[in-house]
């Protein structure tokens, strides 16, 4: 796995504040890489505009500006991108609704990555991730609630999601936590 922090100007590019042409020549390759990484992660069947609108609306209620480049470290390190498909009204019971979640792991040297957690009976074969370059992704629809999970790299190595909170698994390792 690789850690990657983008240059502040590249973050502005990801924000849409500037274009690729505005970047100094020495940063254009990094800018292109960042855009390609973002575009690669967004290639799924999820209806992104509607989902993005829901996330933005929820965040704007708190008067905080959502900065897309905040996702960049998560994209570079690994992250679960949570996309809300919950009906706005009436509020469902905590266990009734479904939420679509995209799991992302950057693991350039992995030959195989899968996802195991409370949602698939911790079965390392049940949920393989799909490779797009160095990025591995899986999009799942999960029941609202609290889930614990880990990535399984090459069928043997249990890796917590560096972009998500984690708790002790009771066996000397860490489980990532997803609260929906």
């Amino acid at each position: 796995m690789s850690e990657h922090e983008f240059h502040p100007l590249v973050k502005q590019l990801l924000d849409g504040d500037i274009t690729l042409a505005d970047l100094p020549a020495e940063l254009r390759a990094e800018g292109q890489e960042a855009l390609q990484l973002l575009a690669g992660v967004e290639r799924t069947s999820v209806s992104m505009p509607a989902v993005t609108w829901r996330v933005m609306t929820a965040l704007e209620r708190r008067r905080r500006r959502f900065r897309p480049w905040l996702l960049a470290p998560a994209l570079a390190a690994a992250a679960a991108l949570v996309l809300w498909l919950r009906p706005a009204s009436p509020p469902p019971s905590p266990s009734a609704s479904l939420v679509t979640v995209r799991f992302v792991l950057v693991a350039p040297e992995a030959r195989q990555v899968s996802l195991a957690g409370t949602f698939n009976q911790w079965n390392p074969q049940a949920t393989p991730l799909i490779r797009a370059g160095n990025v591995w992704t899986a999009t799942l629809t999960l029941p609202a609630g609290q889930h614990q999970y880990a990535f399984v790299v090459d069928g043997a190595r249990w890796v917590p999601d560096p972009g998500a909170p984690a708790v002790d698994d009771g066996f000397g390792r860490r489980n990532s936590v997803l609260t929906l």
């Binding site: 849409g16 690729l20 292109q32 855009l35 390609q36 575009a39 505009p49 509607a50 993005t52 609108w53 933005m56 609306t57 929820a58 965040l59 209620r61 708190r62 905080r64 900065r67 905040l70 470290p73 949570v82 809300w84 919950r86 706005a88 009204s89 509020p91 019971s93 905590p94 266990s95 195991a116 409370t118 009976q121 911790w122 079965n123 390392p124 609630g145 609290q146 614990q148 249990w158 909170p165 984690a166 708790v167 002790d168 698994d169 009771g170 066996f171 390792r173 489980n175 936590v177 609260t179 929906l180």
Partner: protein
């Protein structure tokens, strides 16, 4: 006489039912000695009104990860202890037995919160469903490194304000966003708690509480194609 016999027979029947359900879920997934221990701990938990699922999940997880049986057994006993603590904490806070809330409390304890923290959240007066979400969020904030005082302070303010689950569930992402800007986890949570308390004093924003969501804005336009 028949009534006197019926009560223990009913309890015995419930225990056998719980044991059988646990055995079915674990069949072929865990070693026999672990299945037996989960049956024993789970049956005892069920008769005390505690959820059994966290025990089953922990057993399956340990087996999937290839953990030695004695270590899985120790983890299972710890889960059972945490379930008892969570149930007692909720009772102290005035909440009647609710298996979802107890499981959420068990997670919160695993994440680093104490029995007193759980009682404090239960005393906010939130109903069982809201408290369940609050406990899950509080546990997630603890897993992010938010200290218990700031964690319980933030979630309590939101629960007392009657915020919907969707707002509570945004708190971890909001704390992470503040941390990305350089705040510590404690500072981020404290700042959000102050903002939420100020909001609660001002009253609900326009449109809140009228039973209708705000009208939707047009979705964001798709980004231009990348060169």
């Amino acid at each position: 006489m028949i009534a006197l016999l019926a009560v223990p027979l009913t309890v015995l029947s419930m225990q056998q039912g719980a044991d059988s359900a646990i055995a079915q879920r674990l069949a072929g997934r865990v070693p026999p000695q672990i299945a037996s221990l989960v049956g024993e701990l789970g049956t005892a938990a069920a008769t005390r009104g505690l959820p059994v699922d966290p025990l089953i999940q922990k057993a399956i997880e340990g087996s999937a990860k290839g953990v030695p049986s004695e270590r899985v057994a120790a983890a299972l006993r710890l889960v059972a202890t945490h379930l008892d603590s969570a149930a007692a904490a909720l009772r102290d806070g005035g909440l009647p037995a609710d298996t979802l809330a107890i499981a959420a409390g068990e997670f919160a304890i695993t994440a680093g919160l104490s029995r007193n923290d759980i009682t404090a959240l239960a005393r906010t007066g939130a109903n069982a469903a809201a408290l369940t979400v609050g406990l899950r969020v509080a546990g997630t904030l603890a897993a992010l490194g938010v200290p218990p005082a700031e964690d319980i302070g933030l979630v309590s303010v939101e629960l007392r304000a009657g915020e919907p689950a969707s707002t509570l569930l945004l708190l971890p992402a909001e704390v992470q966003a503040e941390m990305a800007k350089g705040a510590t986890a404690a500072q981020a949570a404290a700042g959000l708690a102050r903002a939420a308390a100020a909001q609660a004093r001002r009253g609900p924003p326009p449109g809140r509480g009228q039973g209708q969501p705000p009208p939707p804005h047009p979705p964001h336009p798709p980004p231009p194609p990348h060169p």
